[in-house]
């Protein structure tokens, strides 16, 4: 990987990006289908990244060896790009012994520290100060590490956002704050809860309060995201401090699966645009702008990628995630007594 600020993405890299986007989409589809095909296997609450693949892959593609990231409970996409075993991931979501975290955390708490994925928080905004601390450590180590901190637009209303960005700016921490703005905070539209959104302004204007650059990018274009995050990471790596990147995405699923007491079958309802706001047209438009087929077309049309090869990549992704589901279903549950392990180091 080149270390220049805005490295040109060669064809191979573009195909790799497409591949990761497909893998994420297929993984999330299989998680969603598990609710129908194997009811009861997934408990609690899961949150899918379908619709955000371009933003996730474009961001993570900028990472150099040693770089780290933290994310929210909507965390499946990032480890897939980092190379985490998808079978272990699925097993974790299924609560099995061979899961990524032994079944202890579930969908919202994936972690892969050896690959730089230091963890998530289930509480909106609370991973932001933690990622800021990881960047503080990176600064102390002086090894040129950069930290990517992912969160949603809802988190920008949390005090933790304000406090963390102020500090990161004050101490010039090597961090890029990537706000994936999907315009919804669960079932609330951003313009209902955010003064900037209500005024029709991009949320990146919030960066002004912290003397840091704020930039908005089309999160449906992985190359644009890559270039934007790469430039911000370059700033951070040179010791110039943090950047706020607002990546505009649209999630294609509801916030999460239905929350219901035991006995009620869990499933994914329709997107809140429809169920809460009756705005089917908005959702349909988002479907038409789905970043995955859009990027495929962008590569296939000029001949960067042949249709055949694109189909092969898609098939491989399907095979991989089918195997992940099998692995998860076949993995035994942990022993109940294991529940009291790992409380303390």
């Amino acid at each position: 990987m080149s270390t220049t600020d805005v490295a040109a993405l060669d064809d191979e890299r573009l195909v790799w990006i497409f591949t990761q986007m497909l893998r994420i989409r297929e993984f999330e589809e299989r998680v969603k289908r598990t609710f129908e095909e194997h009811p009861g296997v997934i408990r609690g609450h899961t949150h899918l990244a379908d619709g955000a693949e371009a933003s996730i892959v474009g961001s993570v593609a900028t990472m150099e060896p040693g770089d780290q990231l933290m994310a929210t409970y909507r965390c499946h996409g990032y480890p897939i790009v980092l190379g985490t075993d998808t079978g272990a991931m699925m097993a974790e979501i299924y609560g099995r012994r061979d899961g990524l975290c032994g079944g202890y955390g579930g969908s919202m708490h994936l972690v892969d520290p050896e690959r730089g994925f230091l963890g998530t928080s289930g509480i909106v905004g609370q991973g932001i100060p933690q990622a800021t601390g990881v960047a503080f450590a990176a600064q102390l180590r002086k090894q040129g590490q950069v930290v990517l901190c992912f969160f949603g637009d809802g988190a920008s209303k949390q005090g933790a956002f304000h406090e963390s960005l102020n500090l990161a700016s004050l101490w010039k921490l090597p961090i890029v704050y990537v706000m994936e703005n999907n315009n919804y905070n669960v079932g609330t539209r951003s313009d209902q809860e955010d003064a900037n959104a209500a005024a029709g302004e991009p949320l990146s204007v919030k960066a002004r309060a912290y003397s840091m650059p704020g930039v908005t990018v089309d999160g449906g274009d992985p190359v644009a995201v890559y270039e934007t995050v790469r430039a911000a990471a370059g700033r951070a790596r040179r010791g110039e401090g943090p950047t706020l990147v607002e990546s505009k995405v649209y999630r294609l699923s509801a916030h999460g699966n239905l929350i219901a007491p035991p006995g009620v079958p869990l499933h994914y309802p329709e997107h809140e645009a429809i169920t809460v706001f009756g705005n089917r047209e908005e959702y349909e438009a988002a479907l038409r702008g789905d970043p995955v087929p859009r990027f495929r077309m962008r590569l296939v049309e000029p001949g960067t990628l042949s249709a055949e090869r694109a189909d092969q990549i898609a098939q491989r992704a399907r095979d991989e995630m089918e195997a992940a589901v099998r692995f998860g279903l076949d993995s035994p549950f942990p022993e109940p007594e294991a529940a009291t392990n790992h409380v303390y180091a």
């Binding site: 005090g159 956002f161 102020n166 004050l170 003064a195 919030k206 309060a209």
Partner: protein
């Protein structure tokens, strides 16, 4: 539907100072000044105990703001609240008695310096936790908006509170909901024992809220006339049900963070430096120049202030602390 309110033209109905108002403001500021000086002495002799934060240096803000508020306008303050409380109309003897922990106190001796409350004068609460009641002020403003009255809420806070997450959370909501809330920040450049530069890269509090775009300005804390005028302009618009606004007053904290602060002596100004930053000295000079006041009148103001403080101390000293049994009945409503 929430939205950004149109920015009104600057300078709309900004009231000017006149002789009568200047006199009132001086009287209020001297009352605060003398009160605080005596409290410092009483603290030294242990008649007033505990954690005390004095308002010496920021009397101009308290006076110029509170003089324009009604009893039913709400005001919240932080740990450095004596000036705001006196300026808003809380009886001085009851404030002093509170600092002495006596039953005649505003809070019957149960709260002390950092927890002064006088709802009859709209003093809804002070807090010892920096920024702790900023969201509460938004609640007051929202209540007024829901009720459709022209009540306004003022939240007094220092520059140190601006970095607290709760400040930003409140600013977003106040903007979104166009609350009749006036943020009055006393920026003295110090948060406890460290300077603003060690807390943030953004020097002016006005710039911290710039993403929200509501009307705001910086005034010198020693320029009482400017505070009076700027606040008055915001107040008139807030009464019409719009907001929020932010008035950033650059003040000087004459004493240490708290009484007994060992670092206080380090940042002491010389007399000339202090006179430039002293709101009382500055307003007296202005009033003198305009022929609003003469030396004799000025002396009667300070003499009256001394009388009031003496009386307040008397009332405090002659009051007994609440009995434990009486206090026990106050835990729940």
């Amino acid at each position: 539907m929430p939205g950004r309110k149109a920015k009104a033209a600057a300078g709309a109905t900004a009231p000017a100072l006149d002789a009568g108002t200047a006199y009132d403001l001086l009287a209020t500021m001297w009352r605060i000044r003398r009160f605080e000086e005596r409290v410092a002495a009483l603290h030294h002799s242990l008649l007033v105990h505990g954690l005390i934060h004095l308002s010496i240096g920021s009397e101009g803000v308290a006076a110029a703001v509170c003089r324009q508020l009604r009893d039913d306008d709400a005001a919240y303050s932080g740990h450095r609240a004596h000036g705001h409380v006196l300026a808003k109309g809380a009886p001085m003897d009851r404030v002093m008695a509170e600092l002495m922990g006596r039953s005649a106190g505003l809070c019957r001796g149960l709260g002390g310096s950092m927890h002064l409350v006088d709802t009859a004068h709209g003093l809804m609460g002070a807090t010892g936790v920096v920024g702790g009641n900023i969201p509460m002020a938004a609640g007051s403003a929202l209540a007024a908006k829901i009720r459709g009255t022209d009540q306004v809420t003022v939240i007094f806070f220092g520059d140190g509170a601006v970095q607290a997450g709760v400040f930003n959370e409140t600013v977003n909501l106040a903007t979104l909901w166009e609350l009749p809330l006036i943020f009055v920040c006393e920026n003295n450049g110090m948060a406890e024992f460290t300077t603003r530069a060690e807390h943030t890269t953004v020097e002016s509090v006005c710039d911290v809220v710039s993403p929200y775009g509501f009307d705001r300005q910086v005034v010198e804390g020693a320029d009482v006339e400017a505070i009076w005028s700027a606040f008055g302009g915001y107040l008139a618009r807030a009464r019409a049900g719009t907001g929020p606004f932010l008035l950033e007053c650059r003040t000087h904290r004459r004493r240490g963070h708290y009484e007994g602060d060992p670092l206080a002596s380090r940042s002491a100004l010389d007399d000339e430096g202090w006179a430039r930053l002293d709101p009382i000295a500055q307003l007296e000079a202005t009033a003198n120049k305009r022929g609003w006041i003469d030396q004799q009148r000025a002396r009667t103001i300070t003499a009256q202030a001394d009388v009031d403080v003496d009386r307040a101390i008397e009332v405090g000293r002659s009051s007994e602390p609440l009995t434990p049994a009486q206090a026990a009945g106050l835990v729940y409503a």
